[in-house]
């Protein structure tokens, strides 16, 4: 027994760094396969016992030259209906390459920014709640489907408070109760605590999901607006990794870069 254990340990040691590769590339049960064993991402979307589409899985945002919602929720050449203060702040962020970018300070992404991260995220769908596990910064979010309503005047938080419902095969997530400060996208579209988002998730087949996000923030935008459709791609046969904002050595260098670029004026916020 002891010998066997030592042998196994020796094997593990000999394998060295391949442990990470095994964790990142391993067959996950429940994935439809082609004859050669590869995942069949064109298979129909799976369904839960109650007949709803099952959105569970590890997902990543598809980014192309022409459509990169991680950078900007809107296609190039289009503008969100920003109120003047929001337009001023947005321009300042673009001009300075993001002088107050939250993640530089190890602050989290918000909604919908967390969905568009270059890091994958996992959805775990159960009857009463769908859990989002975001790899970037190891954050989570819960979308409740137990019939509760959105809270009235809650303590504002970065990811807000979310409830979900089904409209046919589309899962509609309403979120409110946001804390001001997160960006809607990497270019820096701002929001206030009046933000309400609606995300419409539709799994079109086993490997693909579309998300249509509507931004409603009357303190920052003159009317609700809808982002370009986000294309999520299933990441089969892999696993999330821990990612934490440790050792943020970027900040010191970036603060030197931004020195002198920040206007003397106080920060622009929607409360002004």
């Amino acid at each position: 027994m002891w010998r066997g254990g030592m042998f196994a340990l020796a094997l593990v040691c000999a394998a060295g760094g391949t442990a990470a590769a095994q964790w990142l590339s391993l067959p996950v049960p429940g994935i439809p396969r082609n004859a050669d064993g590869t995942p069949n991402l064109n298979a129909p979307a799976p369904r839960t016992a109650d007949g709803k589409p099952d959105h569970s899985g590890i997902w990543g945002m598809l980014r192309t030259e022409n459509a990169n919602p991680n950078a900007n929720l809107l296609p190039r050449g289009t503008e969100a209906p920003m109120l003047p203060w929001a337009a001023e702040l947005y321009k300042r962020r673009v001009d300075t390459f993001g002088y107050d970018r939250p993640m530089t300070m190890c602050l989290p992404h918000g909604v919908p920014d967390a969905l568009t991260s270059p890091y994958p995220f996992k959805l775990i769908q159960t009857p009463a709640v769908t859990v989002h596990l975001y790899e970037e910064f190891t954050k989570y979010r819960q979308v409740h489907t137990d019939g509760r309503q959105l809270p009235v005047d809650p303590n504002p938080v970065y990811y807000g408070y979310s409830v979900g419902r089904w409209e046919g095969d589309t899962f509609v997530v309403d979120t409110a109760g946001f804390k001001e400060g997160s960006w809607l996208d990497n270019d820096g579209h701002p929001h206030t605590d009046a933000l309400r988002t609606t995300e419409r998730f539709r799994r079109t087949n086993f490997g693909s999901m579309d998300v249509v996000v509507t931004i409603d923030d009357p303190k920052a935008y003159s009317r609700p607006w809808t982002a370009q459709t986000m294309r999520l791609v299933l990441q089969p046969d892999t696993e999330l990794l821990e990612h934490l904002c440790e050792s943020n050595r970027d900040l010191e260098r970036l603060q030197k870069i931004w020195q002198g670029r920040e206007p003397a004026a106080p920060p622009i916020t929607g409360r002004q």
């Binding site: 060295g16 760094g17 990470a20 590769a21 990142l24 991402l41 990543g60 945002m61 598809l62 980014r63 300075t96 390459f97 993001g98 970018r101 993640m103 530089t104 270059p118 890091y119 994958p120 790899e135 990497n186 490997g207 693909s208 791609v233 299933l234 990441q235 990794l241 990612h243 934490l244 904002c245 440790e246 050792s247 943020n248 050595r249 970027d250 260098r253 970036l254 870069i257 931004w258």
Partner: protein, 132 residues
């Protein structure tokens, strides 16, 4: 460096680079129009979030030695691209293609790394690999 022994580690193809994986804006610090190609000896590797950095001594023709620092993606990004945390070691001789810092300092964002110490070929890739 003997190219026969060289391997290419595409640290950071544009789609998967420090830009795409940036914890901050690539453009805030680095200049796309300032490409540099340097060969030197690694003297420090910091395998840490939010970005891996490594440092190497570069000898110029006149014999002076300059220490350069290179930003790469996060550990998760490089792990998914096939790297291991010990893929690059102190003492390795590497050739780097990078984009230099805007302020002219000896910092750069690494795009490719050619490592002479092993025969292993590693490719970069975004943490999120779109389906074909």
């Amino acid at each position: 460096m003997r190219t026969g022994l060289a391997i290419v580690m595409c640290v950071a193809l544009i789609a998967a680079s420090g830009r795409a994986l940036a914890h901050h804006s690539f453009a805030a610090e680095f200049d796309e129009n300032k490409p540099v190609k340097l060969t030197g000896t690694v003297n420090k590797v910091e395998w840490t979030n939010p970005h891996i950095w490594f440092f190497m001594d570069v000898k110029s023709p006149d014999g002076t030695v300059t220490n350069w620092g290179f930003e790469m993606a996060s550990p998760n990004g490089l792990l998914r691209a096939g790297w291991k945390r010990d893929s690059m070691k102190v003492g390795d001789v590497v050739a780097v293609e990078a984009r230099q810092a805007r302020d002219g300092s000896h910092n750069a964002n690494a795009q490719t790394v050619v490592l002479s110490s092993t025969g292993q070929r590693l490719f970069a890739g975004s943490p999120v690999q779109p389906a074909p």
